[in-house]
Amino acid sequence: MNRWRLRHLSTRGLLYVGAILLALQAAFPFFWMVSTSFKPPTEVFAQPPTFIPNDPNWDNFHRLFTATGFLTYFRNSLIVSGLAVLLTMVVSAAGAYSLTRYQYLGREKIAGLILCTYMFAPIMVVIPFFILVKKMGIENTHFALVLAFTSFCLPFTLWLMRAFFKTIPLQLEEAALVDGAGRVRAVIHVILPLALPGIIATSIFTFILAWNDYIFTRILITSDELKTLPVGVQDLFHSSLIDWGLIMAAGMMITIPALLFFVAVQRYLIRGWGAGAVKG
């Protein structure tokens, strides 16, 4: 019994060490960003670097919200990323379901083709994409951006969702169908709970991909009111009197809402959500 206890404790110990390291490597830069955003300009370069600002103030934030278009950029990013995620997830969930549940000619070939489109470096696609969008008459619109994001998110979400769907045994649906449920109900009650962690993970990735995009927004959007955060922040960074405090404040404001969202959503990534459905 003692040997077990010891082993258990040391495993737990290692676990905690691992978790702390994980948290630290992510949190430290974040913390540094927060700290700098509260510092006045002269303290930013202080040697030795101060971790808790000596003279914390809200100046940087004040300037961020009043002297720059930050709030506009934030709103735009939210709208465009949100729409992109919606479109992408609906289409790719359906597509992934199709690729794993139905049998038809060239199914794997289609999956392969989709993967191929992913292999063309986005940076090279940007200019022809712009030409295409111009021909469609929608340049400098959010619609064009959503389409752009969808185009590079779809192949990747399709493949990822396909992998997640593959881990769900067909037997489950068949069992439900045998029990008399319609296909739609079978999907909702059987597949969805098992697929939920995968769907959540994939939506998060899609959101981040859209949220972070720089080059497509830069090329497709010209009006300041339509710009998204990455382009807005880049302009702030290149604005000649670089304001480290301001940039860090912007970084903080970009991260905190997303962080809060993830704290809320991560609880759905729990074990046992529907995993009891199949027995023996």
């Binding site: 200019i127 400098n140 619109t141 959010h142 319609g182 702030l236 290149h238 604005s239 000649s240």
Partner: protein, 462 residues
């Protein structure tokens, strides 16, 4: 799958309808954010490289004033860093829809002119006064006797130094590069462990700035980068090789070891906080930076002065770089005439001063009348840092300043300046040299690459 035919069919239909509806809803919601401008208004697009929020705001004010006078025109401005502007211009030109007006470098303007893309700006020059345009900047984009680009505002790359330390050590102004290194070394400081706490010089390691400095140093060394008659690069000439030797010496003695990774603004941080004693590529903006980041009480010209740059061993006169992007108006844009009207309005004294005052020491006026105007000079920062402005004028008056990679004004006639600039060949040459390659070898390698590029572009004439 046990599903009889009828059930299966009905289900399929329902599913089909459901999917169809969802997609339809999604697609229709996208049309809402599409902005459609009313047909009567003309939308003029103006792209520039001043990204400072204050400058953008002032520019917007000018736009608003203009729109009041011209209710049928809407101006959309966009401020971008140069690299981004290039990318957007490329995309726009590829799609056949250039902006109506944009900033460019002197070489960009020259390239575009050579391809017949630019609208002449003679009418603008006439309105603001041909003689009113400051002589030193007239050549920025002046071809075949006509103006094709008028700079929005000029300024010069300055040698900024810690005046207090310089005076305290009783140093003399350096005349040659060797003198300069000695002065820089004298201003360095070490702690008790022998670690350097203040370097003699801070240079940006980014491509654009290395290109700029090589051009400056070559000119200050009495050399040239291109043969005017044939357009052949002359990187292997003695004067250019000496520039590389100078870089080597700087790298080994007075520059921070990681200088290749330093950005332009890092150098200002280094100077302002005392980690470096001098900047060779400082610009007027730095004054604002110094005021903001230097320790209390030291952010003023008594601590941070400017002096004339030294010349090289094979040169007799110093040189500096002009930073003066000309306005370019594209012939094939949608509203070039309206853009021209706007530029004329932009240069009107009351409007122009609003723009210039956002970065007072850096945005100097292109127009002599504004330079002399009391309203312009009545700016607190301008008065405080007048020493820097005077140094700018010194270089201009003596015709010692040229644009990037241009050592003689006629270089602007060469059609491949833009490509050489962007290729990084000159930058790689410097990187090779400071990493240990003998200067002659680095120069020869760059020479070969440049010749090859020019040949590939179809401009070989030698």
């Amino acid at each position: 799958m046990i599903l009889n035919e009828k059930e299966g069919g009905a289900l399929m239909l329902r599913k089909r309808k459901l999917f169809g509806m969802v997609i339809l809803i999604l697609i229709s919601t996208f049309f809402i954010p599409i902005m459609v401008f009313p047909a009567e208004k003309k939308v003029v697009r103006v792209w520039h490289t001043e990204t400072e929020p204050a400058t953008i705001a002032a520019f917007q004010e000018i736009i608003n004033d203009f729109e009041k006078l011209h209710p049928d025109i809407t101006i959309k401005q966009e401020g971008l860093a140069w690299g981004d502007l290039e990318a957007k211009l490329t995309a726009a030109l590829a799609a056949g829809s250039p902006p109506d007006a944009a900033h460019g470098q002197a070489v960009t303007c020259a390239s575009f002119y050579a391809k017949g893309l630019l609208r002449s700006q003679e009418d603008i020059a006439a309105v603001i006064g041909r003689d009113n345009i400051w002589e030193p900047v007239r050549m920025q984009c002046f071809h075949d006797g006509k103006y094709y680009g008028i700079p929005h505002s000029p300024n010069v790359s300055l040698l900024i130094y810690r005046k207090d330390i310089f005076k305290a050590k009783g140093l003399k102004q350096p005349e040659t590069w060797d003198d300069f290194i000695k002065v820089a070394q004298a201003m360095m400081e070490r702690d008790k462990d022998g670690r350097v706490t203040r370097y003699g010089l801070s240079l940006p390691g980014t491509p654009l700035f290395i290109n700029i400095l090589v051009g400056e140093l070559t000119a200050a060394n009495g050399g040239r980068l291109f043969d005017l008659k044939t357009g052949r690069p002359t990187f292997t000439e003695k004067q250019v090789v000496e520039v590389l030797d100078f870089y080597k010496k700087l790298n080994d003695t007075v520059l921070p070891p990681g200088w290749l990774g330093h950005a332009y603004l890092d150098t200002f941080a280094n100077l302002a906080t005392g980690k470096a004693a001098m900047l060779y590529q400082g610009y007027g903006r730095g004054a604002g930076y110094i005021e903001k980041y230097a320790p209390k009480g030291t952010g003023n010209p008594d601590h941070f002065g400017v002096m004339v740059k030294p010349h090289g061993p094979s040169g007799k006169q110093t040189a500096a770089q002009i930073d003066a992007e000309p306005w370019m108006i594209f012939k094939n844009a949608k509203y070039p005439e309206e853009a021209a009207e706007f530029i004329k309005f932009f240069f009107k004294e009351e409007e122009y001063i609003k723009y210039l005052h956002t970065v007072p020491i850096h945005l100097l006026p292109t127009l002599k009348s504004v330079q002399r105007s009391k309203a312009y000079q009545a700016n607190e920062m301008y008065q405080r840092w007048k020493e820097w402005v005077d140094m700018d004028y010194y270089y201009f008056e003596k015709n010692l300043a040229k644009p990037t990679l241009i050592t003689q004004w006629a270089d602007l006639k060469l059609p491949f300046g833009l490509e050489i600039l962007g290729s990084g060949i000159v930058v790689d040459m410097v990187t090779d040299a400071v990493r240990g390659m003998p200067s002659k070898e680095a120069a020869a390698k760059a020479q070969a690459r440049a010749e090859e590029l020019i040949t590939k572009l179809g401009y070989k004439r030698w």
